[in-house]
Symmetry: C2
Subunit: 465 residues, 2 copies
């Protein structure tokens, strides 16, 4: 499947046809944001932007898309329009890899309303998923501290979604992926060990290890749990490690993929050390996530490298982020979506988000949302408690939304995945620890500028029943 | 991203290179199966086969794949081999859409070991995910009974995995999808309604409904919760429905997307009926799954059409099926993977699976696994309880694994997605109700033929420590 402009929901095209007939020159601002951090966490890692911009620069309807739409009742004049469709709008956005929080705009699209509507589904599809996975990866990184993390999830990923999962995993803090295609296209490190079937294809495990080590002596990791970890796999691996030494090579590691990993890792480390193989690393895998790795570290399991699959690439247990794309301005007029819950009421108008920094350059604990062109935002109001506000003049603050696309062309220099990962790491270092803990993390606050709050409240009144 | 042969894990290629140098003519049999039904359910719907076979028929390494592998240390002679790589093996499989159960082969690959190894990741990636989603869809169908089900999940799907999710949803029993690209490529019905932003782009809701109904009178569904469902959205929709009547059209439905769906649906039905609009349907959406729909039905909510998104396309809460691909035979010799848990010990040799039918043609509650060429399987033994067995002579039984690919070419006539969905529906009708319930479903049993059990037990002994 190639992504063309028909990678969207049918209703986007139905609505677009109505716009085409009634308001072809309408100009809209849409906000991308989500309502909750995934995993009951205290933050999210915004990911997927570069992919979205690359797709937008070349997005078109293919001939077969147009034939399909013609057969499904779309009108000739609208099909003619779609034939020449391209996205020519502007996008301002948080930088990819930034630490972001719920209920404030992460990205804003400002474009012809037909164009902005048609791209909604693709944009949500790519950003929601990669943000989910990068956030999961960052939590696993938090548990693993400085140990190496490998993504091995492709076989359990959601079909070709696995391709994007591997990219997002690196941005969230993983070191490498087993996914060759993603490594190739995104220029990220690849790695891998061996499977049980490799060993089973031999009459005996020792011969399997010997052949593997002989042909692939560099980065050689032997899987030791096919028959019996401590009585067969590990003794055979030690034999091969010694043979490698005599030909000037070094075994990189052994992998545990079942059983009690804490117990087996300790026994394995002891047996390796007793054989003077203290350089041989221990790789562990099998249904790992941030909680299991945290527990393994707390038990003192001497694991050097963690391979993480299913729980990473599927973003378990949440499996989705509730990202939305809401109209906030139409032809220069503010727009709102109501809800019985005030926190779910959307924020009108084109906006800017400011992050407050304390005197050490750490995130202060609150973002302020203001009108886009508002100057000298001096005070930030609580979203619905009129008694609470914060003077902003005593804080350094930085605008988060930057122009990344103008008239359909990228205006930010491209960054590699590893550059984005580095940026993300540096941003996370600015986030105080209490937002990173897994249990009841601190809530990163949001405030509205006085002008924005007034505008929201007057629109709420206007639509009141 | 196009799927080429580098859509695999790096270790497959590392192992393949060792096979290439040490046993280039090795012949292997691999079993695809999983260990647990997802969602604590009593069955799974096997899905994704047609996609896998289509991919296998044309799978190749691209030039850029080969360049990447050359840069990453693979040897010249092996790269030459990869240049001409194609899958030339045989596959026997359950039919797509069949009702399947854990711990017995669903699909078997018999091929040169290098080829069989390289395709593993792609095969698992496609089958695991689509089987997960079709099974989820089938559970939602079970709750919704005969009401219409729409897949609207693309925006929350795992990037392009959403394309395959929409296909699998139809096989599991959904009626249509919002996903235009999937509808187009797989020839499945598409549908859609309208978004809040459409209404927000107008000064007033009534005008938005009027424009929409005028331009798209067929299959027109109006979204009524943007401002206030019962005081604004519904009265405006009723006005438009009456205007449509006077121009000879009929409003198809109104959609509820927030609030208490049971309460709102009842109030909406009453107001529609009071306006003589009993033909106008009620569409409901908002975080639905099989449990919410079951509850809505139990409360008597008069909902005609359910739109399901996130929980469907992400297969929440499981998000993955634990499908594996295990070597069961190498060069004609049986192979086994041990585990401390007898149920996780793999079954050796090439096999056939028989489904027992009772005298009414219903599934009897047990599948028998036998050697592939075993004739007249008369008795089925319990997998590890020596005191339990079952005479098979009194049952009709059907072999489940059929030849679907020979020498890399499909040998089954292609079926459309709707034909597969029909087949799946008919198979589910053969499954007794107690396997379909959500709470503690009956466990579908497995038995081994006497010969297979002997072979497994002797291999367990051989590898015992």
């Amino acid at each position: 499947m190639n992504i063309t402009a028909s990678y969207t929901d049918l209703y986007q095209l139905t609505m677009a046809q109505v716009y085409f007939k009634t308001k072809p020159d309408g100009r809209a601002v849409y906000d991308y944001y989500f309502r909750n951090n995934p995993f009951n966490g205290g933050y999210s890692i915004f990911t997927g932007l570069e992919d979205v911009l690359n797709i937008l620069e070349t997005l078109k309807f293919s001939d077969s898309d147009l034939t399909y739409l013609e057969q499904h009742g779309f009108e000739k004049s609208f099909l003619e329009y779609l034939k020449d469709f391209q996205f020519r709008g502007n996008i301002s956005s948080s930088l990819e890899g930034d630490v972001v929080f719920p209920n404030r705009p992460i990205l804003q699209v400002e474009a012809n309303i037909i164009e902005a509507q048609i791209i909604e589904t693709m944009l949500l599809n790519i950003l929601n998923f990669q943000t989910l996975i990068a956030t999961k990866a960052s939590r696993i990184r938090h548990s693993a501290k400085t140990e190496m993390l490998l993504d091995m999830g492709l076989r359990r990923a959601h079909a070709t979604g696995g391709y994007y999962a591997s990219r997002a995993a690196i941005i969230g803090g993983f070191d490498s992926t087993s996914n060759v295609k993603a490594a190739e296209d995104y220029d990220i490190p690849s790695s891998g060990t061996m499977a049980h079937s490799f060993i089973q294809s031999y009459e005996d495990e020792l011969q399997a290890f010997r052949d593997f080590a002989k042909i692939r002596p560099k980065n050689c990791v032997l899987l030791i749990d096919t028959y019996n970890t401590l009585r067969s796999g590990l003794p055979n691996a030690i034999t091969v490690a010694k043979e490698m030494e005599s030909s000037g090579e070094q075994l990189l590691g052994v992998r545990l993929d079942s059983g009690d990993l804490a117990y087996l890792a300790k026994r394995t480390r002891k047996m390796l050390d007793d054989a003077d193989l203290n350089y041989v690393k221990i790789v562990a895998s099998n249904q790992l996530d941030e909680y299991v790795i945290k527990s393994l570290k707390e038990q003192g399991a001497p694991i050097d490298i963690y391979g993480v699959g299913t729980n990473l690439v599927t973003g378990k247990p949440d499996a989705a982020i509730d990202g939305v794309y809401k109209l906030s301005e139409y032809n220069g007029e503010p727009r709102i979506k109501l809800s019985e819950n005030i926190i779910k009421v959307s924020l009108p108008s084109k906006k800017q988000v400011y992050r407050m920094l304390d005197k050490n350059g750490m995130f202060y604990g609150a973002d302020a949302v203001a009108m886009y062109d508002e100057e000298n935002v001096a005070r930030m109001e609580h979203s619905f408690d009129a008694n609470k506000s914060l003077e902003l003049t005593r804080f350094e603050h930085e605008p988060l939304l930057q122009k990344v696309m103008e008239n359909g062309k990228k205006v930010m220099p491209a960054r590699t995945v590893s550059e984005i990962a580095e940026y993300s790491k540096s941003r996370l270092e600015q986030l105080p620890e209490e937002y990173k803990r897994f249990q009841n993390p601190h809530i990163y606050k949001i405030g509205l500028s006085t002008d924005l709050k007034k505008e929201r409240d007057s629109l709420v009144q206007k639509h009141k029943f």
